[in-house]
């Protein structure tokens, strides 16, 4: 008799907890992988593909699956540091093969040389180039991420990457010198 009671009790408990777990798995389901989202937040969203993946999101997924965190030149050292902080990994220097950290720049189409082939429009990952077949194209500077991807496909080489000039609104204060002053004493 005792044996049967014990079995019944355990069976009932098992059903109850199983039900609760089942309910929780539906009710509190996590859409997507939150760590991928967090990594994607840190990446600069230039969508340049220098990391070897077709965009920032795919690279974020790759990092979540164990890829190195130093393949993003636009993110720079600061980006690597932020990723290392997030993932609890070592800070490593940028992978030089992927390119180097460059000052922010945008694409500029020399408009009288443009033949209107739409190749750059197709290459632009963020739809920042405006134009139509056989008509001049132009870059919407505010939307351009400076990814370089439009430069290569251009058959007449009329796209330049131009460094963004510093303006009053983009200017920032410099950090004061951190050096501990060293005074050289004259030999007597």
């Amino acid at each position: 008799m005792d044996l049967i009671t014990a079995v019944i009790i355990l069976a009932v408990l098992g059903l109850v907890f199983g039900g609760m777990l089942g309910f929780a798995s539906i009710k509190f389901k996590v859409e997507g992988d939150p760590i991928v989202e967090q990594i994607d937040e840190i990446l600069p969203q230039t969508q340049c593909g220098q990391c070897g993946y077709p965009g920032c999101k795919p690279y974020a997924e790759a990092i979540a699956n164990g890829d190195e965190i130093n393949k993003c030149p636009p993110g720079g050292e600061a980006g690597v540091k932020a990723l290392a902080d997030l993932l609890g990994r070592e800070v490593i220097p940028l992978d030089e093969e992927r390119g180097e950290e460059k000052p922010p720049s945008v694409a500029y189409i020399r408009e009288d040389e443009c033949i209107g082939c739409t190749k750059c429009i197709q290459a632009c990952p963020v739809d920042a180039i405006l134009g139509a077949p056989k008509l001049m194209h132009t870059v919407i500077i505010d939307e351009c991420t400076g990814c370089d991807l439009c430069v290569e496909p251009c058959p007449v080489d009329c796209i330049d990457m131009v460094e963004l000039p510093q303006t009053i609104s983009s200017w920032k204060w410099q950090q004061p010198d951190q050096m501990i002053p060293v005074k050289e004493l004259e030999a007597s």
């Binding site: 994607d40 990446l43 600069p44 969203q45 230039t46 969508q47 965009g55 920032c56 999101k57 739409t118 429009i121 990952p125 963020v126 739809d127 920042a128 180039i129 405006l130 139509a132 077949p133 919407i140 939307e143 991420t145 510093q166 303006t167 009053i168 983009s170 200017w171 920032k172 204060w173 410099q174 950090q175 004061p176 010198d177 951190q178 501990i180 002053p181």
Partner: protein, 541 residues
């Protein structure tokens, strides 16, 4: 935080005065510039009017090179509401609209209107308001807006925006504290144009219902206090109360003066308006009075010229755009070692003497070698905590310094970096001469830039995802069309096959050609469509 026991430190004050934490007592150096009467200087050969001379958007020029303008004529309009009108400071010819070095710590160029005075200083037709009592709130605000009035206390915040909110405002505070060393322009303005300033305050108070007016002034300005008392009696403005606060830097900071006069602290992330308070500088009151009763736009301001190298220190009416170089020459001064715009505590070193005076310029210090003691090299922090005792905002300057210099911006923000008013009291007391404020400015501007970049990245992500989605959709639709075409073909062939096998073969061939044509057609359409999508999405963003 409200103090239960107000400390009546100054007998002259008509309202109870509370205390603020921290603060310092630097040497005042005020007597050298507040002895002489207000003067004017001869006009400069060229005025360089900075179009970004106010907080907010750059004004849009409405004149072009070659135009002749009269004094007070509009030369630049507002770009949106958060901007200000600019007027010609004198009559003459616009010789260029070009990038010039502007009064900004960066030393960068920005768009300026360059005006060559004709020497006549001829006003355009002015439109003073005759029946002020009959004007409604909106009309008064419009007049203030059109006359280009901005806050003259230092931040150049457009006055019409500050005055817009009126619900729940119960106290108007006129800031006459002028706590920073060297500067005396508000003091002199109050002494010589007392009535105009009080009338300006009266005009502002009419914009609100049942409002108290308090003039907050430091007790080191007895002449100005007497002048206010006398003018108040003569004008019969008994509703204006004097709040005389003890001399201590930085009691003239907006939040500090509010705390001194009301005992209330403006909470983190809130505005004085949330406490029912609005504050204007005495210079702004004067400018508002001039804009309404005289119809004069804001084209000049009172500027304190001082410093060891200034040979005729004092307060001068300076038209906007006057190059600082001209001020040095006109006062027969020696070439300054350092040229500071603003006071010694919160001002900044000018990148060049060619920059023009802007609406925010309250003082120019032409300093001699070693006068301002900025050459000392920074030594390591000894963790004495003196900065903490001096901080008027009750922050932990040392903690902020550690985080700022280590680029730990999120931690600096946790310690309320953005509540720092950059008064410089901490750096003043630092025995190691650490340029603390510069560290905070570095951290603040980096955080601001990072925020802008974050927004840009977010936008790029959205556009990238939208594009991916579009490409997916186009692909799907193409596949769908092909599938439908194939089905139609098959069906046609089957139907034909039922009647006559020979005919069916011919029909099937025809159907194939037709389907192919259709597919081609739809492909080109689709290409056009995707182009159109491209354009649309760009246009929309």
């Amino acid at each position: 935080m409200e103090h239960s026991n107000p400390t009546p430190k100054s007998r002259a004050s008509e309202i109870p005065i509370y205390e603020i934490p921290g603060g310092i007592h630097p040497e005042e150096h005020k007597t050298r510039s507040n002895q002489a009467d207000i003067r004017s200087l001869p006009l400069a050969d060229e005025l360089v009017i900075n179009l970004k001379g106010q907080a907010g958007n750059r004004s849009l020029p409405v004149v072009k090179a070659g135009d002749t303008v009269l004094k007070g004529q509009v030369i630049a309009e507002c770009d949106g509401i958060f901007s200000a009108y600019q007027h010609a400071p004198t009559s003459g010819e616009v010789i260029a609209i070009e990038n010039r070095t502007i009064a900004h710590p960066s030393g960068l160029d920005d768009l300026c209107v360059v005006l060559k005075p004709d020497g006549k200083d001829q006003w355009c037709e002015l439109s003073p308001v005759t029946h002020l009592e009959d004007m409604d709130r909106e009309a008064v605000l419009a007049q203030i807006f059109e006359k280009g009035v901005v806050g003259l206390g230092g931040a150049s915040f457009p006055s019409h925006i500050k005055l817009k909110q009126h619900e729940g405002i119960h106290t108007l505070i006129i800031n006459a504290a002028e706590c920073e060393p060297y500067i005396t322009c508000d003091d002199k303005l109050l002494q010589e144009h007392t009535k105009d300033v009080l009338l300006g305050a009266e005009i502002i108070s009419k914009l609100y219902q049942d409002i108290d007016i308090i003039i907050g002034i430091e007790d080191n300005k007895p002449q100005a206090i007497d002048a206010i008392k006398q003018a108040r009696q003569e004008l019969g403005l008994s509703n204006i109360k004097l709040g005389v606060v003890p001399t201590k830097y930085p009691s003239g900071g907006e939040k500090q003066l509010i705390q001194l006069l009301t005992g209330k602290e403006v909470p983190h992330g809130k505005l004085p308006a949330d406490l029912g308070l609005v504050m204007h500088n005495v210079g702004t009151c004067y400018a508002i009075q001039q804009a309404l009763t005289e119809g004069k736009p804001l084209v000049e301001r009172l500027v304190t010229l001082t410093g060891d190298n200034c040979k005729e220190p004092g307060n001068y009416w300076i038209p906007f755009g006057t190059p600082v170089e001209h001020l040095i020459q006109a006062t027969n001064s020696e070439t300054p070692k350092r040229l500071i715009m603003g006071g010694p505590m919160m001002g900044y070193e000018l990148p060049s003497a060619e920059v023009g005076i802007v609406k925010a310029t309250n003082c120019i210090i032409m300093s001699a070698d070693g006068e301002l003691g900025m050459d000392q090299t920074a030594l390591p922090c000894i963790r004495c905590g003196a900065c903490m005792d001096a901080c008027p905002a009750s922050l932990l300057p040392q903690q902020l310094y550690w985080h700022a210099q280590a680029d730990e911006f999120d931690k600096a923000e946790e310690y309320d970096l953005f509540d720092c008013i950059e008064c410089g009291a901490c750096a003043y007391v630092c025995p190691s001469h650490i340029p603390l404020v510069q560290h905070y400015r570095y951290a603040k501007s980096t955080i601001r830039n990072n925020r802008v970049e974050k927004i840009k990245a977010e936008k790029a992500r959205e556009r990238y995802e939208a594009r991916q989605e579009r490409l997916e959709r186009v692909k799907r639709e193409k596949a769908e069309r092909h599938r439908k075409a194939a089905e139609a073909r098959k069906k046609a062939a089957e139907e034909a096959g039922k009647k006559d096998p020979k005919k069916a073969a011919v029909q099937a061939a025809l159907a194939r050609v037709k389907a192919k044509k259709e597919a081609q057609q739809s492909d080109t359409n689709e290409a056009d469509q995707s182009k159109a999508d491209d354009n649309n999405s760009e246009g929309n963003n």
